[in-house]
């Protein structure tokens, strides 16, 4: 039996997965990694974040699901603050239990997959829905098998991660994130750890998701892929958003000199 507690005011479906990032700041020691980020991602939109190494794009992604706490500013999904609660004029950091509850609306896929090596593919997918009380074990298993089929790995259900190729591991990781039916999916350089010939199979799965109406925020170095699937491209450098716009504009006629410089290097 599924035990999702109904929210008092159900979110209308057309606003599912609206991400609003407002004035987010984050520093490590003296280094400002995020220097005031403002970004709104519409429900069902696919946004690709580009930028040089160390520009803060991964930190931004991790701040969205509160794996990284922020020093100032807020992130909301469908109007709900992630990681904090507003009382009066202050934001109070939530207790971990509350954070976890809100975080499962936002799935994340890591560069290094981070599959649990001691669990099989299907066990990796079942773990979270069962541990969070979202699904019973049988229902979770059924869902897991369906998801594995969706990413083209039905025959690998009982394989351990080490028995899979990098591309297959990343597809399992995507299925694992999908098992919580997130409103928003974050991808942190999902193909950067893969051998070149395995990149395609992972991109195919993401392309498929892009059509399904889930909000996707993708940090990537695959410019060609970003151009193809993204509705908007966000260019980040030194913790700031320098340019936002449709791929045709940002990738072909970038306004900002840093964007031009970056693209010139990447596409050389």
């Amino acid at each position: 039996m599924s035990t999702i507690t109904p929210t008092p005011t159900p979110v209308p479906t057309r606003t599912r997965g609206l991400v609003e990032i407002h004035n987010v700041h984050k520093s490590y020691g003296g280094l400002e990694v995020l220097a005031g980020i403002d970004l709104t991602v519409q429900p069902g939109e696919v946004v690709a974040i580009l930028g040089p190494s160390g520009s803060g794009k991964s930190t931004l992604l991790r701040a969205i699901n509160h794996l990284e706490s922020v020093d100032r500013g807020s992130v909301t999904v469908d109007g709900q603050l992630i990681g904090y609660e507003r009382r009066g004029e202050k934001l109070y950091e939530l207790r971990e239990k509350e954070i976890l509850k809100r975080r499962i609306q936002i799935g994340i896929v890591f560069q290094n997959f981070n599959l649990f090596p001691h669990l099989t593919a299907v066990e990796n997918i079942i773990e979270a829905p069962v541990a969070t009380g979202l699904l019973q074990k049988d229902a979770a298993r059924e869902l897991a098998l369906k998801l594995l089929e969706r990413v083209g790995l039905s025959d690998k259900a009982d394989h351990y991660p080490r028995q899979l190729s990098g591309g297959q591991q990343q597809r399992v990781a995507i299925a694992r994130a999908l098992a919580l039916s997130p409103k928003v999916l974050l991808f942190d350089e999902p193909t950067s750890a893969l051998d070149p010939e395995l990149v395609g199979e992972v991109l195919d799965v993401i392309r498929d998701l892009a059509r399904s109406g889930t909000t996707l925020i993708i940090v990537t170095h695959e410019i060609g892929f970003a151009r193809e699937v993204a509705d908007r491209i966000v260019f980040v450098d030194s913790g700031r958003i320098l340019e936002v716009g449709p791929p045709e504009k940002v990738l072909i006629n970038p306004e900002h000199p840093r964007t031009q410089e970056f693209l010139a290097k990447v596409l050389a």
Binding site: N65, F110, L180, G224, L267
Partner: protein
């Protein structure tokens, strides 16, 4: 230069180079087909000599064990299953089991304390480990046994007073010799276990905990279902060491006259002066217990290595069965049974997770 086998072979082929081994690289039209030559493996003369010496020493020792009457094997046999010895084994095993459970449970709590973000908890855990690793086990056991000198009564009452109005016991009644031994061994063990468990937890990649947190898995399940099972791979060998250490460490409790196995044999040989055969009784019992624990360790390690090797290597028992069936097949002229799975190394090469080279698909902006 004397005529060697190589020279004789070379008489019927054209000379290619000074060294007959260069045949393949010498080129030319008259290439020798090296593929048809039998291969003679390197002879390891030094290894064989050492092996022979070791074999001789073992044989010499076994011969002395059998023929030297001072071992008094009859006395050994007489006391091996003697009642005080068996009771002693019972004490040794129960002391080990109880203090191992206390040690590893408390050790886990202290390990988590040391990893805690609270500086107070972390410092308290560090201090515990520091203190109990500093005090010799024997001293600790004697202190627990004599705690009555420090605190004549123990109880519950008003804090910071000795006004026990809820319950009050004389310490001597509360802490028996056995309880003192358990306290000493358990608390001592906890300090060492804590460090082993902490080491194990730290050996698990940070990404695992992060991925579990990102999936909304609650902290307790993150620890017990994701992190600990992976940490067990490095915890188990050290933990088995500790348990085996406890079996033998339990022999120090003879100082407070608990009749564990070492105390039992001492009592007997103090009476009949058969020191060596009775010590051998204890040695063989300890060896037996260690053997059982080592076999247990092998299978527990195997269980926790699920997923870290591609195919689990066969167990010694499986290897033995395979060997028997191969020999059987040879006798009966039937085809050999299928080979066992090769023990696969932990495959780092294909686990390319650590690679960080970003790839750019060019031509996108073209």
């Amino acid at each position: 230069m004397t005529t060697t086998a190589d020279d004789r072979i070379r008489t019927d082929v054209p000379p290619l180079s000074d060294d007959p081994r260069d045949g393949a690289t010498a080129g030319g039209n008259d290439r020798i087909d090296l593929g048809s030559f039998p291969v003679v493996h390197t002879r390891h003369w030094f290894r064989w000599t050492l092996g022979a010496i070791v074999l001789f020493l073992i044989a010499q020792f076994l011969w002395s064990v059998i023929t030297n009457p001072n071992y008094e094997w009859d006395v050994f046999a007489h006391y091996f299953f003697a009642e005080p010895v068996l009771i002693g084994i019972g004490y040794t095993l129960s002391l080990t089991a109880i203090s191992a459970v206390i040690g590893f449970t408390l050790g886990t709590v202290i390990a988590l304390g040391r990893l805690s973000k609270s500086p107070l908890l972390s410092a308290a855990s560090w201090s515990y480990i520091w203190f109990f690793r500093s005090v010799p086990l024997v001293v600790q056991i004697i202190v627990w046994y004599n705690l009555g000198y420090l605190y004549p009564t123990l109880g519950l009452g008003t804090p910071f007073t000795t006004d026990f109005w809820i319950v009050e016991f004389p310490t001597v009644n509360l802490i028996s010799a056995f309880a003192a031994a358990i306290l000493g061994l358990g608390l001592h063990q906890a300090a060492y276990s804590a460090e082993i468990i902490r080491g194990g937890l730290l050996s698990v990649d940070q990404g695992q905990s992060e991925a579990a947190a990102a999936l909304g898995i609650p902290a307790r399940k993150r620890l017990f279902r994701i992190i600990l099972p992976q940490a067990m791979r490095s915890i188990i060998p050290n933990a088995t060491n500790e348990v085996i250490g406890l079996v033998k460490g339990a022999s120090v409790v003879f100082v407070i006259a608990i009749p564990e196995v070492f105390y039992a044999v001492q009592v007997i040989y103090n009476r009949n002066s058969r020191v060596i055969p009775l010590l051998l009784v204890a040695v063989v019992w300890y060896t037996l217990i260690t053997t059982i624990l080592s076999v247990g360790q092998y299978y527990i390690e195997r269980y926790y290595s699920r997923g870290s090797v591609r195919v689990l290597p066969p167990t010694p028992f499986q290897r033995f069965r395979r060997w028997v069936s191969v020999q059987w097949a040879r006798l009966g002229d039937s085809p050999a049974p299928p080979p066992l799975p090769e023990p696969a190394a932990i495959d780092q090469a294909s686990f390319s997770g650590s690679r960080n080279d970003a790839k750019f698909s060019g031509g996108a902006g073209a």
